[in-house]
Symmetry: C2
């Protein structure tokens, strides 16, 4: 390269003055800020950042926190977390009092008055004779501070400024010990600290978020029952006081919607059902209705609403099952055949997980052209149940539906009802279980049921406890219908007791 021959080049200055204060590396944070870490109502949320500025200024920092629905920020003073004033980590904490998305940021600035005091102290301690210039500078800073203050504080600060200004101007070359003492007076400093100049403060490039669930998302005892075995929804309703008495928090009902007749399954997965066989509740929908209807054998929508209300009065929540698939008789199959997968010959593909076949179930096709119509229909099903009072959903097999769909659905539901809890029934590989938590599921099923020896259990529980707290909350539901381990089938009452105690003590749900 021949020097001097480059064309001259310029690049524009920023349009607004960037702060000299860098606020960075917020904690807690998940996925580089892509997803909010999880907490529950009442948790003490410890937050911290690095605050870095050039030079040797005395710094101050405060957190600003805003809960869901709040229009204004709450301000919390932050403190150095490291020993010594050269530490750059600042922290504080807040305690969310309601579920939803909590937002926080930090405002940090160089404390010009504090820095001036610090410099004055150093020079005075070093025996510097001529401090008139420093005292005059302080008078200017104090006068500016007085303008920011109100009432008595303004008067106090103004008086100190005037004393420094008038006396230092006439002090000549001698150190006036009284003036230095006034400048460094801790009471004056405390008054000034109430009126900082934040005009050159720095903040995080973007606010940090915390996803706050109700406490029930972290801690609760679940009871599963098939309403058919208890006399329908009203039968369950009569049993509520007894269940509350036992200390349960959530009553989970498998799907309560109408069940398809076509290819209905009989006992033990047989392909032919007798006239009295109810079929699998997961084969959802018949001519009378789909996902937002109640099976006539079990009751009515009004019965469900009454059940939810009675349960809540007893401190219980009713959890419904959200299972996206349809029976052959679901209204969507005739109204929206475009939402389902077809074979090349045009016939519908039933669900399968080779070698298992679910002949009574058809999966929707999330890759179809009208994906937005399908998403909207599933949204309407979910919000219909939320409108009827349901606040807990156990989601069937979420790991075979798009992550982006769940992220959208859960965020949308919780924007209006942040107290809603979604439990993922996802028996899949670990990274996908975690991802479901990251994108919004409050809880996830675990492999607890399959861990049987002490060594297996220890290893698994340690794994769950380690480092995943912020994205995945385990729910050690003792069993899932349709899967029965040898230990549970043959173990007898002792095994059940042991596993109940283990489930209850190894996780909070």
């Amino acid at each position: 390269m021949s020097p001097g021959q480059d064309r001259r080049y310029e690049f524009p200055t920023p349009r607004t003055r960037p702060s000299r204060v860098v606020v960075t590396r917020p904690r807690p944070i998940l996925d580089q800020g892509g997803h909010p870490p999880k907490r529950t109502v009442g948790d003490q949320v410890e937050i911290s950042v690095d605050v870095i500025r050039d030079g040797h200024e005395v710094m101050r920092a405060e957190a600003r926190v805003r809960g869901p629905g709040q229009r204004t920020w709450s301000t919390i003073e932050m403190a150095h977390l490291d020993a010594g004033s050269l530490g750059v980590r600042w922290g504080t904490s807040f305690t969310p009092d309601r579920p939803g998305e909590w937002i926080w940021n930090v405002r940090a600035w160089a404390d010009r008055l504090g820095s001036w005091r610090e410099e004055l102290r150093r020079k005075s301690d070093a025996g510097q004779a001529d401090l008139a210039s420093e005292l005059a500078e302080g008078a200017v800073l104090l006068a500016e501070c007085a303008e920011r203050a109100r009432g008595a504080d303004a008067g106090t600060i103004d008086e100190a400024a005037e004393t420094l200004r008038s006396t230092s101007a006439s002090a000549g070359d001698g150190v006036d010990g009284d003036l230095v003492a006034l400048a460094l007076d801790p009471d004056l400093a405390a008054v000034c600290d109430r009126h900082p100049d934040r005009s050159l403060a720095g903040t995080l490039p973007s606010a940090a978020k915390v996803d706050v669930d109700p406490e029930l998302a972290r801690f609760g005892a679940w009871y599963e029952l098939f309403p058919r075995s208890w006399g329908g929804l009203n039968g369950v309703r009569r049993r509520l006081p007894a269940l509350a008495e036992l200390g349960f928090d959530v009553i989970y009902l498998p799907p309560i919607s109408p069940i398809g007749l076509t290819k209905r399954k009989g006992p033990n997965n047989s392909l032919t059902a007798g006239p009295q066989d109810p079929g699998s509740p997961w084969a959802i929908g018949d001519a009378s209705g789909g996902h937002d209807a109640v099976h006539p054998d079990l009751g009515t929508v009004a019965d469900l609403e009454a059940l939810v209300a009675d349960a809540r009065a007893l401190g219980l929540e009713i959890a419904l099952d959200l299972a996206v698939q349809c029976s052959a008789d679901h209204p969507w199959l005739t109204d929206h055949p475009e939402w389902f997968s077809h074979r090349p010959d045009g016939t519908l593909k039933y669900a399968e997980n080779p070698p298992k076949r679910y002949e009574d179930i058809y999966n929707v096709d999330f890759d179809c052209e009208d994906w937005a119509g399908l998403w909207a229909a599933l949204r309407d099903v979910t919000t219909a149940w939320v409108q009827r009072g349901v606040r807990v959903f156990r989601v069937d097999n979420p790991h075979t539906k798009p992550l982006a769909f769940w992220q959208w659905l859960i965020a949308g539901v919780r924007a209006e009802h942040p107290e809603v809890i979604f439990l993922a029934e996802a028996f899949t590989y670990r990274a996908l279980q975690q991802e479901l938590g990251r994108i919004g599921f409050s809880q996830g099923y675990t492999y607890f049921t399959w861990k049987q020896s002490a060594a297996e259990l220890r290893e698994y529980v340690e794994e769950l406890a380690g480092g995943e707290r912020e994205m995945f909350r385990p729910n050690n539901f003792v069993n899932t219908p349709g899967m029965l381990t040898g230990q549970l089938r043959d173990g007898g009452p002792d095994t059940f007791e042991i596993r109940l105690i283990l489930a209850g003590t190894l996780a909070a749900s």
Copy 2:
């Protein structure tokens, strides 16, 4: 809450279909993507991401890489990093061949043909009798693939599709082993793999970046000299072959600009200079010019250009000193008094770091109203030297000027000349040293000079080597003018030899 009384609520579906494939957690990454990790030309840059999709599809992923100035992406196939197909970590590497900002992203998709082959294999292995429907589905997928292909590949795939389509339609209920073998043929799979359907691919939410410096930023031997002691710039020029012979890579010159006369310092920091005393080169500027001028005693701008050119021909780079402060006689003090800090009485404040005073130096005030004018002037000084061929800058005390200023300056200079190297002379606390690296400095001074015992050195070097590689490259410059440790002052030649060997072996600069 009384159920059923909520108002009905909806939330809109996304405007475009989100991909089912989540690509996330890119490495390397720094500060949650806020700053690019550092590499040098020729490094093998290992990159990786998590690829997660619902379901059990066979996945494929490719990295897309773009160097500075490139308009098109290079594509590199990625591979599973974990054992087993359920691993979600995918990786590959690339080797940047020029300095500047390298950008990379990942495109990952469900391989429908691969998934179909996998399912067919499972069903066939399980002895499933009727595979006609599966083979017909494969025929459709292959025909689609043939449309994406060109030339011979298109013919090969189309032929296979036609065979599957026509034969499976007439095959009835029997398994046709030949057809399954054709469907699973590895050669056919390899041809198909060349024409994937990426239409539903997922990517990182935003591209990842790597800041690539020239190799000299990582590895080089520096030689410092005062041109005044060597007969000016032309004297230095005559010494270049000998310095190149010694194996040096960088010749660093302290400031070569005119030196102020007012309050000029004498020997050993004395406040009165004799008529022959040159003053401190860091008291920059006099009536003849400021930061972009050459001291008449040392030569001319043309001499500097010739020096740089001769040096480069010998494999050497000339490093200049970038020191923002001004002497009392710098043109900026009269042209732009608003750029400097003033005392309340209107006089200028000289630089100090109590109890040290630099009476011959005035610092600019980055908090002044015309900060943008000041930034632009400093930009013009820097690009002037770059235009004259200088590619290495040792920046004086950057830690007392705004981080945002350096970030802007370095990015702007390197956008045009990515080969330019900035070394931070920042003797400050560790977090600030690191931050200077994060925002763009290629190298930083270390506390090597002050670490003297074996234990001190070991601790410090281990600290430098541990986990900071991506943000901070140490330059163990053996000494800095104006600071002399007892060991260097009194140690004699042996000490210098020891420290030279230590400096050369404990860091690459």
